[in-house]
Symmetry: C2
Subunit: 210 residues, 2 copies
Amino acid sequence: MSPSDTAGDKDKSSPPNSVQLPDGPNHLKKYRTLEVISNVIKTVGTAPSGAHTEPWTFVVVKDPNMKHKIWEIIEEEEEINYMKRMGQRWVSDLKKLRTTWIKEYLDTAPVPILIFKQVHDFATNGKKKAHYYNEISISISCGILLAALQNAGLVTVTTTPLNCGPRLRMLLARPHNEKLLMLLPAGYPSKEVTIPNLKRKPLDQIMVIL
Amino acid sequence: MSPSDTAGDKDKSSPPNSVQLPDGPNHLKKYRTLEVISNVIKTVGTAPSGAHTEPWTFVVVKDPNMKHKIWEIIEEEEEINYMKRMGQRWVSDLKKLRTTWIKEYLDTAPVPILIFKQVHDFATNGKKKAHYYNEISISISCGILLAALQNAGLVTVTTTPLNCGPRLRMLLARPHNEKLLMLLPAGYPSKEVTIPNLKRKPLDQIMVIL
């Protein structure tokens, strides 16, 4: 299927980029942020998936205590990742991006979105129902999520909390058939934001025309 | 990194949706299609990737003979997939989507895009260079590709040519470190197009707010 097949969908709510954001008080902006993110996730739900199995759950965290607990778990595990598990080469390959296990943005970003892939589902008879190509499918949905967030004026950063999956799954009370794939801390850019000036491969290195 | 970090990029060509398509003769439309797809791939090249390794090659096929050969390989392998390799359950799970090994659209779609993931790269000393999270990274880029194609008025369908990778890699002369992930036949919709009216899970089944 193609993303365009939503044209047949009767349920036509506003696309995410049609929501106008007021420059109002913070609580109002926070309310609108959740409204925008709900529309974004609805858009993401139109992503294609293997045999149309839709193998995804998006956990949007607004509770400050929960956000703080997520941050604590990730920094604990990431310190062990950087110090022991990832190996010198990986840590060295990340140096130019200046990432470390310190991730204070997890505590300050308005809305972390945790993306869980459903490695299988259950049929009505209780048997496992296969989710074909579930990792590719949910990663495609993440690409559409990134595009939709940006389209709505939100910003984020892709993070893959290595070895944090089981603890975060327990904390967020997600079932055993779900595995954490990615965490996107989403919000509006701060006025002081700076962004890394990453160079990309030129077009003729990534595209071949035959 | 976030997709928004391209703001630092000096190379500002037109975004894909700024290209106006003429209702001219077919050869002109074909020329513009390639121009639009080049801009789309340029956009996709801003996708995030593990340690910013950009593990992707997009092969855009315009040569009719090459398209025909790709079609032949895929139908040959897909017939074996459906008859033997996939198993009854998978074939039965696909029945509602009415897909078979007959894929004439591969021969008629103006521009097939074959997406190869680079499972690793080579450092200047000839040693393997790790491409962290390469499958997740390239699948994210496919999600952005789908969004960008749609944004540019093009349509496609996601196909994963099972067991066709090695033959297609040889045909397209791609190196050993690249594996076929997906094929997107891209083009403008025909006037007679119909699209499947797929139902999606409702928002409260894919999004959890905590």
